[in-house]
């Protein structure tokens, strides 16, 4: 048994009280003296030349401070994705910087044409209506395959073939064609995910304010403010330097990856510059749907080959990703799809090719899972098809191809050190009852409601050490009451990292959990860190906190020696331990010294020993330390309506060690719900003629409700990872990868059909049940809109 005071305990996260009482301050709660309101005019057509913009009427409206258009913007293109700043040059070279703050030409319905600042938001809104824009409509291209055809409308003039990004799998290996030729069985699956929306509760918002010392202060809910700041200075406003900007991320109303891209911040800065007032730019939910960001829809074909004994021989993947009008994250998410998705099992021959295409549709972005859910939906079904061809239990097939420590890992070129995927499968299958429920490939199911089971496995990262800029630093100081100020820069967007880091800090320092206060979100205060994404915060930031915490612990022990002497005990610092605010030693039974005494005396020492207890800690990660998960789904398909209901779901996650099991389980539960939406209900629909987003409200874009959520169990497989803080790995994204493929495989088990596009809605399932999936009707190929 571990003798941890806090690690592994189900602690209540300290920031929750402010969130549930409404005390937490979000960007929209902040009012600066003299602040005015900004709004952005969005284009009403999908593709058009802007012939002229007449802003005179809008400018004449009382209360309007400025109306800006493309000609007022810096003449420099940038990408909304801030990830470029965390990538080494070699990995970045292909990424296009392709948009202006306010556009020179309309490339999607919702593109930003003009911006207004006014004394109040209703005036700003009225001013938008008074801006006269003359558009010369151009034929839009709304489908990536059409965009690739000769003579297709061109989205970006400097990109005549509409190919925004193209690359081979970075770890192509072996001889794929030879492996396919020699294989006993070959299977293929193709499919496309829909553009799932992040739907963070707080829509995009930012405040920009130039202070009297010419410094720019930005308030915005960024997932990585240091990176965003760097990106803003390097790519958007090159006249500003890193030190000229102070970026404050207040409480964040959800992220899910959307806050890894710049949103309205550049527009807010531009307006603030022109009107010399602090400006807040606000967006509506409908604007969020029409223009802001979503998951990238990746049209994929994956071929797989195996021997009849069930050895996976080769994987061949082709991806055509629809980036939308600008590149943003779609090149990187599609690349991660190839790396993580294909890397889950052992395979010596891998080939992948990726084409990212511009279309006149809204911009897509990074989303929790970052390419992995998109890829797993296709790969895990291809694997099931392969298992069926060789007549093998799909779980057994996966078990026969597991990677072991020492095998090459997938995301970054390192060796796999730690995997508990086998245990995940074993424990999950036992809990789920796979042996009883899986009745073989030819099991006859009858009746109107048919049940089926399916499974899926995944590998995901805990950061991207060795690839991204994976280091983090923090500062700690101890106050006179033995409480701790921890200055660190994770982004708390609901996932609970503040709570988990508090537990790590309390355990490492020996101070009390209740007395640890975290300062975060302000780039002037916190040290450099690339933010919360890629399930990295727990491992990378957690290790930095651990490193600093151990130093504090040691300082307390050294200073505590003299207090034991008061009890007539002569000790070395190494004999002493600090735990939950109490200093004790095995060599001095019965003596308990409170840390507050040591902390107080350290500061209130008028002699030679005076110094506040303080420490900084840094950590550099050199691996992506993959976490793993196996998931099992049971569904019931109504064969007459096509409706699919998930009736049971079990996942087992290779977590290393759960710092707070409550938070890990909550991550799994939340991501399962998001995954069920991805699999079954969430349908982002773009009108194939106009490019308008039809599902532009929560009325028409159906999130799963509690009625859609099945009984579920999330098991944690704990064997500490040596490199993790107290052995922890990441867990933020993994849970969203498995639901869609596990549910899809379960549907096949129930009724013998596979739907090739997400969501697997009732009409698609019913059509496939009646006609098979070969001659899918209504094949527009646009954004998940074919069967």
């Amino acid at each position: 048994m571990n003798d941890f005071a806090y690690v592994g305990k189900r602690m209540t996260k300290p920031d929750i009280y402010g969130k549930v009482t409404g005390e937490a301050k979000y960007t929209d709660d902040i009012t600066l003296p003299g602040m005015v309101e900004g709004r952005i005019l969005c284009a009403p057509v999908a593709h058009a030349k802007i012939v002229s913009i007449d802003t005179s009427e809008a400018e004449a409206l009382p209360g309007v401070l400025c109306v800006l258009t493309h000609k007022d913007c810096p003449d420099i293109r940038f990408s909304r994705s801030t990830m470029a700043e965390a990538l080494p040059e070699f990995a970045f070279t292909g990424e296009r910087q392709d948009q202006f703050i306010l556009t020179d030409k309309v490339r999607y319905m919702g593109d930003w044409v003009a911006a207004v600042a006014a004394e109040d938001i209703t005036t700003a809104e009225r001013a938008l209506e008074l801006i006269r824009v003359e558009y010369e409509p151009l034929p839009p291209v709304l489908d990536p395959f059409t965009a690739l055809e000769q003579g297709a409308p061109v989205v970006h003039e400097d990109c005549a073939d509409n190919i925004a990004f193209e690359m081979d799998h970075p770890f192509n290996c072996g001889d794929v064609e030879k492996a396919f030729a020699e294989a006993d069985a070959v299977a293929e699956f193709s499919g496309v995910n829909s553009r799932q929306k992040h739907l963070h509760m707080e829509t995009d918002v930012a405040i920009a304010s130039f202070e009297s010392d010419k410094r720019l202060v930005i308030y915005s809910p960024s997932q990585g403010p240091h990176l965003a700041k760097k990106h803003l200075t390097k790519r958007v406003f090159p006249d500003l330097d890193d030190g000229d900007i102070r970026w404050i991320s207040p409480a964040i109303g959800g992220g899910f990856g959307a806050r890894l891209a710049l949103g309205v911040e550049p527009a807010a800065v531009l307006l603030a510059r022109h009107c010399n007032r602090p400006v807040r730019v606000t967006t509506t939910r409908e604007e969020d749907f029409q223009g802001y960001s979503s998951r990238t829809d990746m049209h994929q074909t994956i071929r797989v080959a195996a021997t009849k004994e069930g050895k996976l021989l080769a994987i061949d993947q082709k991806i055509v990703s629809d980036s939308g009008a600008y590149l943003s994250h779609s090149a990187t998410t599609s690349t991660v799809n190839m790396q993580k998705t294909l890397g889950v099992l052992k395979c010596d021959n891998i080939k992948g090719h990726l084409t990212v295409v511009y279309t006149n549709t809204p911009v897509t972005s990074g989303f929790r899972g970052y390419g992995n859910p998109e890829g797993a939906f296709v790969l895990q079904q291809a694997l099931d098809r392969l298992a069926e061809k060789i007549g093998m239990d799909p779980m057994e097939f996966r078990l026969r191809n597991l990677k072991e420590p020492g095998d090459p890992s997938c995301f970054v070129p390192v060796t796999l050190e730690h995997t508990k995927l086998k245990e995940c499968i074993d424990v999950g299958a036992e809990k789920f009852g796979w042996k009883d429920k899986w009745q073989g490939w030819d099991a006859a199911k009858e009746g109107r409601y048919r049940r089926g089971v399916g499974m899926s496995v995944l590998t995901h990262a805990s950061g991207a050490g060795g690839f991204l800029l994976e280091h983090s630093s923090c500062v700690m100081k101890v106050l006179t009451d033995g409480s701790l100020n921890l200055i660190v820069s994770p982004c708390e967007m609901g996932q609970g990292i503040i709570g988990a880091l508090t537990q790590v800090a309390a355990e490492a320092t020996g101070l009390r959990y209740e007395q640890i206060r975290i300062s975060t979100g302000d780039t002037d205060v916190t040290m450099f860190d690339i933010g919360s994404h890629a399930s990295r915060s727990m491992l990378v930031i957690g290790n930095a906190v651990h490193a600093a915490g151990v130093k504090i612990h040691d300082q307390i022990c050294e200073r505590a020696v003299k207090y034991f002497e008061e009890h007539q005990v002569k000790l070395e610092a190494s004999d002493i331990k600090v735990r939950a605010g109490e200093i004790t030693s095995d060599k001095a039974p019965g003596v308990v010294i409170d840390v507050s005494k040591v902390a107080y005396d350290a500061i209130y020492d008028f002699g030679e020993g005076g110094s506040q207890l303080n420490a900084s800690g840094s950590y550099l990660s050199t691996s992506h330390h993959p976490n793993h998960q196996a998931a099992f789904a049971e569904v019931e398909v109504d064969t007459e309506t096509g409706q699919v209901t998930v009736v049971n779901y079990v996942s087992a996650h290779d977590i290393g060690r759960a710092i707070n099991p409550l938070l890990v389980e909550a991550q799994m539960e939340g991501s399962l719900v998001q995954g069920i939406g991805f699999a079954l209900t969430e349908d982002f629909v773009i009108d194939p003629e106009t490019g308008k987003v039809l599902s532009d409200s929560l009325l028409t874009y159906r999130l799963p409700s509690t009625m859609d959520v099945p009984p579920m169990e999330h098991l944690l497989i704990e064997e500490p990872l040596e490199a993790g803080p107290f052995g922890a790995k990441g867990c933020g994204e993994a849970g969203l990868v498995n639901p869609a493929p596990a549910i899809a495989n379960a549907i096949y088990d129930a009724v013998g059909i596979r739907v090739h596009s997400l969501p697997m809605s009732a009409d698609k399932v019913l059509w496939a049940l009646k006609h098979g999936t070969e001659e899918a009707p209504g094949q527009s190929r646009v954004s998940g809109q074919f069967l």
């Binding site: 309506t641 599902s695 009732a762």
Partner: protein, 306 residues
């Protein structure tokens, strides 16, 4: 693309008379929960200078239910008020199911039952169940009132029978027969273009004779297939006198398919739609009959809900 709301006058009327009098000013509209109205204003589809809230008018908050008397729903009653009502659950199960499955669920907490009907949106669920229960609406000008059956309430497009200077003050549902049951079901479809079908909903009411064998009364309603819910009257009259069973329900379901005008969309959407109309019609009839037989508590088979 939706906008930030512009300021408007907001009047909290004290009486029906005051409310409907205010409506004579152009650019004025009644306001209850605002679930349909506010998004429409934000999208720029409608524009009003004055909204007249009916939520402070005395006497419009009545809600009562009794299996022998019926259900009374005043104009201020929120949808959420119905969800936990035991008699609505047991004896007006179609209404219960329609309200319980409302999406997104926040609408239950904001929206009124009357407002949901008056919005006259063709895919709303509650009106479909109201047709099955033969609701009667009371329209008042503050002095006199008149009753309009729900069959006559919708007048095409998004029009209703509410005249100038009138408002709906109450909905009444007649009591069901002793051995009667009802059911509501819906199913969503992925939408592909603006005017594409995105849902089918259906409701039915079935009353049985004393032997609980033959049907003595029935209603069958299909929604999302026209401007307003469609009663399948041919099926309703054909069901009366028949033994409540698959044969009767299947043929009623075929009549439902035949009664619905084809859409102008792609053939395959038509096919899915026809299938769903057939299946939902049969399912709600069978479910309603099963409840009539067993006086079944719908809460117990919530898992069967789509």
């Amino acid at each position: 693309m939706a906008r930030v709301l512009q300021p408007f006058e907001f009047i909290e009327a004290a009486g029906v008379k005051e409310a409907v009098a205010a409506l004579s000013q152009p650019g004025t509209r009644l306001f209850a929960g605002g679930c349909d109205l506010v998004p429409a204003i934000r999208r720029g589809q409608v524009r009003y200078d004055t909204l007249v809230s009916i939520m402070k008018i005395e006497g419009l908050s009545e809600f009562s239910s009794h299996p022998k008397v019926g259900v009374k729903i005043g104009a201020q009653v929120l949808l959420s008020r119905l969800v936990n009502d035991i008699w609505v659950g047991k004896r007006w199960a179609a209404l219960h199911e329609a309200v319980e499955q409302l999406y997104p669920p926040h609408i239950r907490n904001m929206g009124t039952v009357v407002g949901n009907l008056c919005a006259a949106v063709n895919y709303y669920d509650v009106p479909v169940s109201m047709f099955a229960h033969r609701a009667v609406l009371t329209l008042s000008d503050g002095t006199t009132s008149r009753e309009v059956g729900i069959d006559d309430f919708y007048t095409g497009g998004r029009g209703t029978a509410v005249g100038a200077g009138e408002m709906v003050t109450q909905i009444d549902l007649p009591p069901p027969a002793a051995d009667a049951g009802s059911a509501f079901k819906k199913i969503y479809k992925a939408r592909r273009r603006a005017d594409d079908l995105h849902k089918i909903n259906a409701a039915a009411y079935v009353a049985l004779d004393e032997a609980k064998e033959k049907i003595t009364d029935a209603t069958l309603v299909i929604g999302c297939v026209g401007d307003s819910p469609l009663r399948i009257t041919a099926a309703e009259s054909a069901l009366v006198g028949q033994v409540a069973g698959d044969e009767a329900f299947n043929s009623a379901a075929e009549m439902a398919v035949a009664a619905v005008q084809p859409m102008t969309d792609a053939g395959w959407v038509e096919e899915i739609r026809s299938d769903w109309i057939r299946i939902l019609a049969r399912d709600v009839l069978a479910q309603a009959a099963s409840r009539a037989l067993s006086r079944h508590d719908p809460a117990e088979d919530a898992h069967l809900a789509y």
